[in-house]
C-alpha cells in the first residue's frame, strides 16, 4: 500500500483509491455511475448542474461528486432517498424551463436530459412557470442554436476553448436571461465560429444542431428534371453503421452504397476518388515547392474548419497552405465538368449531394470560391452522417440487411490511400506514399507510414527520403494545431504538416453519429475503432497509392492534361483570405 492511497466507504463498501481521485471516479470503481449532466471527461470541470450530488457524512450540504476529491475516512452515500430526490428536483427545474417538444425534437432518443429525466424517475412536473424565451439563431450555414433548449452546462463553451482553441462562445448576461453566444452576441455567421460542430457533439440537448439540408435533398430526389448524384467522404463508411446499432469500427461501404441507391440517387460516387486526385495534385505541389525553394511547410487544406481557423487566427500562414481544393470540392467540380461532359448532361441539371462527417463542409460548399459565376454551388447540398442515417431510417430502408453494392464508376473508384483520409494522419500518409515514389522514382517497399498514425493530438516524424530528411507533423484538434503553429512561428522547421480541425480527424467530425447512451464524444477509443475500419479497408485494397488510381490517370489523360497544369489549376485549386473578426 502506497502512502498516497485513500480509504473511504461508498454505500457501505470499503473502497481504496489514489489520493486526488474524485468521488465520481471512486464510485465507478465499484460499478456505480453517478448520474451527471455538465460533466465531460475530456473537458475541464464545471460543477454547474449539481446532478451528480452525493451525501458525505459530516458535510452540511451535498457536494458535487465530479468536483469533490476523496479524503481519508469519508463515508459517502450515492443513492439515499434525499439524494435521489435532490437530483430529481434539479432535473424537474431544468425541464420546466425547457420546451416540451421531445417528440418533434431532432435529439429525441439521443438527448441526455431526456434520458436523465427517465432514469431519475421524473414523471410529473412540479414547477411549471414562465419559461425563458429566445429566438432560434440560424444565420450560419452549418450550425443552428436554440437557446431555449440550453441547460447552461457550458460544455460547448469548454470544447470551443479547450479542444479547438477558438474561444468563440461564452455565457452572456445572467439569471433568467443568461445565454451562450459569440462575443458581443454576434450572429454565428459574423463570428469567429469555424463551423466544426464539436459544440453539437458535446451538447447534451438540441441546443446546438447542424443546419438540416435534408429537405433540399428529398426535393431534388423527387424532381425528374434533376440528375441527382451523391458522393460520400472516406470516414462515413467507418461510422454510419453505429446509427443502425452496428459496433463502432464496422466498415459499411457496400451497405451505404446500396442504401443510397434505394434512396433514389442516380449515381452513387465516392469522394475517395477525389481524395486520390487531391493527393496527386498536392504531392506534386509539395515536390515543386521542395525543388524550387517554395514556402514550407506545406500545410494541408482538406479540413474547412481548419481553413477558416487559419484565416481568422493565423493568416500569416496563407502562403503555406496547399492551394488544392478539398476532396469534396474537387469531386463536385469534376462531376459538373468532366462527368457532365462524358455523360452528356447539362451541369445545370446535375444536383450534387455530398455526405460528410462534418458540419463545416456545409459552410465550405457556400464559400464564394466554390460557386460558379451563374450562382450555382459546385456542391448543391451537404448532409452530415447523422442526416443520412435519418434519411435512410425515414425511408424505411433496412440498412442492416442490405446486400453490399459497388460505387458507380469512374468517380467511385479509389485506392487504399484515399480511405485513410478519414483518420488523422491519413492525408499526410497518403501524400508521403505518392511523394516519396515520385521523388525517388522507385517503388515503395513499405507502403505504411506507421510514424504518422494514431489518434493522439500531435505527432511528429523525421523520414529519410533519397538522402533528404523530411520533417513532418500531424495535428488534430485546433488547440494542438495552435501549439504547432506557434512553434513554427518561433523558428522550428517542418516540410509538410497535416492539420484536421476535429479531434481524431474526420472520424471524430462534428457530423458523426451521436454516441451510444452513457458514452461521450471525443472518445479516442471510439475514434481508434473508426480509424481501424479505414486502415482495414486500405490494407485489403489491391492498389494503395493514389497516383496509381487508373481512373484518376484516365481523368488526366482525357480531360485535365498535366498534373499541376493549367486546367488542373483552374478546376482543382483555390485561394484563401485573411478574415475578421481576428481570432485571439
Amino acid at each position: 500500500m502506497g502512502t498516497n492511497m485513500v480509504h473511504v466507504t461508498i454505500d457501505g463498501r470499503p473502497v481504496e483509491v489514489a489520493a486526488g481521485t474524485t468521488i465520481m471516479q471512486a464510485a465507478e470503481t465499484i460499478g456505480i455511475r453517478i448520474p451527471r449532466l455538465c460533466y465531460h471527461p475530456k473537458l475541464s470541470l464545471e460543477g454547474a448542474c449539481r446532478i451528480c450530488v452525493v451525501e458525505v457524512k459530516g458535510m452540511r450540504c451535498f457536494p458535487a461528486s465530479c468536483a469533490t476529491k476523496v479524503a481519508e475516512g469519508m463515508e459517502i452515500t450515492t443513492g439515499s432517498p434525499e439524494i435521489r430526490q435532490a437530483r430529481r428536483d434539479i432535473v424537474e427545474l431544468l425541464l420546466d424551463n425547457h420546451p416540451m417538444d421531445c417528440q418533434t425534437c431532432e435529439r429525441d432518443g439521443n438527448c441526455e436530459l431526456q434520458n436523465l429525466a427517465y432514469q431519475l424517475g421524473v414523471r410529473e412536473r412540479h414547477f411549471e412557470g414562465k419559461r425563458k424565451q429566445f429566438e432560434i439563431e440560424d444565420s450560419s450555414y452549418s450550425i443552428v442554436r436554440n437557446s431555449e433548449k440550453c441547460v447552461l452546462c457550458q460544455r460547448c463553451i469548454r470544447v470551443c476553448a479547450e479542444v479547438q482553441g477558438v474561444h468563440n462562445l461564452s455565457q452572456h448576461w445572467r439569471g433568467a436571461t443568461a445565454v451562450v453566444t459569440p462575443a458581443f452576441e454576434a450572429r454565428m455567421i459574423e463570428s469567429i465560429c469555424i463551423n466544426c460542430g464539436q459544440c453539437i457533439n458535446v451538447c447534451p440537448t438540441a441546443a446546438w444542431i447542424e443546419k438540416s439540408w435534408t429537405e433540399d435533398v428529398w426535393k431534388a430526389l423527387n424532381d425528374p428534371s434533376k440528375h441527382v448524384v451523391v458522393h460520400i467522404a472516406p470516414s462515413i463508411r467507418a461510422a454510419i453503421g453505429e446509427g443502425f446499432g452496428l459496433p463502432p469500427g464496422t466498415p459499411t461501404s457496400g451497405k451505404t452504397a446500396a442504401a443510397l441507391r434505394r434512396l433514389g440517387f442516380d449515381k452513387v460516387f465516392d469522394t475517395n476518388f477525389s481524395a486520390d486526385l487531391t493527393i496527386v495534385e498536392e504531392s506534386n505541389e509539395f515536390l515543386q515547392r521542395l525543388k524550387n525553394g517554395g514556402t514550407l511547410p506545406l500545410i494541408t487544406s482538406c479540413s474547412p474548419g481548419w481553413v477558416k481557423f487559419m484565416e481568422h487566427f493565423y493568416p500569416e500562414f496563407i502562403p503555406n497552405m496547399s492551394t488544392c481544393k478539398s476532396p469534396m470540392s474537387m469531386h463536385s467540380t469534376v462531376i459538373k465538368t468532366y462527368y457532365a461532359e462524358k455523360a452528356g448532361i447539362d451541369p445545370k441539371d446535375i444536383f450534387v449531394v455530398a455526405v460528410m462527417p462534418c458540419t463545416a463542409k456545409k459552410y465550405e460548399s457556400r464559400r464564394p470560391e466554390f460557386i460558379s459565376p451563374d450562382g450555382r454551388p459546385d456542391t448543391d447540398a451537404v448532409l452530415t452522417t447523422r442526416e443520412l442515417i435519418w434519411m435512410i431510417k425515414a425511408y424505411g430502408i433496412d440498412f442492416l440487411h442490405l446486400a453490399d453494392e459497388e460505387f458507380d464508376h469512374p468517380l467511385g473508384y479509389s485506392t487504399g490511400a484515399a480511405d485513410i483520409f478519414g483518420a488523422t494522419g491519413g492525408v499526410l500518409e497518403a501524400a508521403l506514399r505518392t511523394a516519396v515514389e515520385m521523388a525517388t522514382g522507385t517503388e515503395l517497399k513499405e507502403i505504411e507510414f506507421a510514424q504518422v498514425r494514431g489518434v493522439d493530438g500531435l505527432q511528429e516524424a523525421s523520414l529519410d527520403v533519397a538522402g533528404t530528411t523530411l520533417k513532418v507533423a500531424v495535428a488534430n484538434g485546433l488547440h494542438n494545431a495552435r501549439d504547432l503553429l506557434d512553434r513554427i512561428k518561433a523558428g522550428e522547421e517542418f516540410h509538410m504538416i497535416e492539420i484536421m480541425a476535429c479531434p481524431g480527424g474526420c472520424v471524430g467530425g462534428g457530423g458523426q453519429p451521436y454516441p451510444q447512451k452513457g458514452d461521450y464524444t471525443i472518445d479516442f477509443e471510439l475514434y481508434r475503432k473508426r480509424a481501424g475500419a479505414l486502415y482495414d479497408i486500405d490494407r485489403d485494397k489491391e492498389i494503395r497509392l493514389s497516383h496509381k488510381n487508373p481512373h484518376v490517370l484516365e481523368l488526366y489523360r482525357e480531360y485535365l492534361g498535366e498534373v499541376g497544369g493549367h486546367k488542373a489549376h483552374e478546376l482543382l485549386h483555390t485561394h484563401y483570405q485573411s478574415r475578421t473578426p481576428r481570432g485571439i
Partner: protein, 170 residues
C-alpha cells in the same frame, strides 16, 4: 511569411489605457486584470463600446467572448453611452412602497427605452440606484444632480417635456 495587418492595427483606446493594459499583460495571470481594465475604460469613456471591448481583448490577449461575457454579467458595466440627463430611480424601501415601479414604467413608456438604455438622441438614460436618503420625498428620482420628489406617474410627461424644451431653447 507575409506581414499581417496586426502590425498596422490602429487602436482607439487612449495611450494611457493602452499602457496600463500592456503593463497588465506582462504580469502573471494577466487575464485576471480584465475587470480592472474594463473599470478604467468605463471611467474614461463613460461606457464600454464594442470597439473598445474588442481592443481590450486584443491588447490583453483575452478572447473577445470572455470580455463581452464579463461586461454583460456585471450590473456596473454600461454598454451604451450615458445620456446627457442621467435619470436615477431610487428603489429603496420607502420609494418602492410609495410607487417607484409605476414611476419607472412611466419613464420607460414616455422615452421608449428600458432601464440601462439611452435614448437615440443621447438625451436621457435610465438607471436604478439604492436609497438616496430623502425618504420623506418618496418616490424620488434624481436627474443628474437634481432631486425630484413626491412624483406621480401622471407628472412624468411634463417633467420630461420641460427638459426637452430647455434643450431646444439651447
Amino acid at each position: 511569411m507575409s506581414a499581417h495587418d496586426t502590425a498596422e492595427r490602429q487602436y482607439t483606446l487612449d495611450r494611457e489605457l493602452q499602457a496600463y493594459i500592456s503593463e497588465c499583460r506582462g504580469k502573471e495571470h494577466s487575464e485576471s486584470f480584465l475587470i480592472s481594465v474594463l473599470h478604467k475604460v468605463q471611467a474614461r469613456y463613460g461606457y464600454l463600446s464594442q470597439e473598445h471591448m474588442q481592443e481590450v481583448a486584443e491588447l490583453l490577449g483575452v478572447p473577445a467572448s470572455t470580455v463581452s461575457g464579463v461586461a454583460t454579467f456585471y450590473h456596473f458595466f454600461r454598454l451604451q453611452p450615458q445620456g446627457k440627463y442621467k435619470v436615477s430611480f431610487c428603489l429603496g424601501t420607502a420609494c418602492y412602497v410609495k410607487g417607484a415601479p409605476a414611476i419607472i414604467d412611466a419613464f420607460k413608456e414616455e422615452l421608449g427605452i428600458d432601464v440601462g438604455e439611452t435614448t437615440k438622441d443621447g438625451l436621457f438614460s435610465l438607471e436604478i440606484t439604492r436609497c438616496l436618503g430623502v425618504c420623506g420625498l418618496a418616490p424620488v428620482v434624481m436627474i443628474n444632480e437634481t432631486v425630484h420628489g413626491k412624483l406621480t406617474p401622471a407628472s412624468i410627461p411634463a417633467l420630461i417635456a420641460g427638459i426637452r424644451k430647455k434643450e431646444e431653447a439651447g
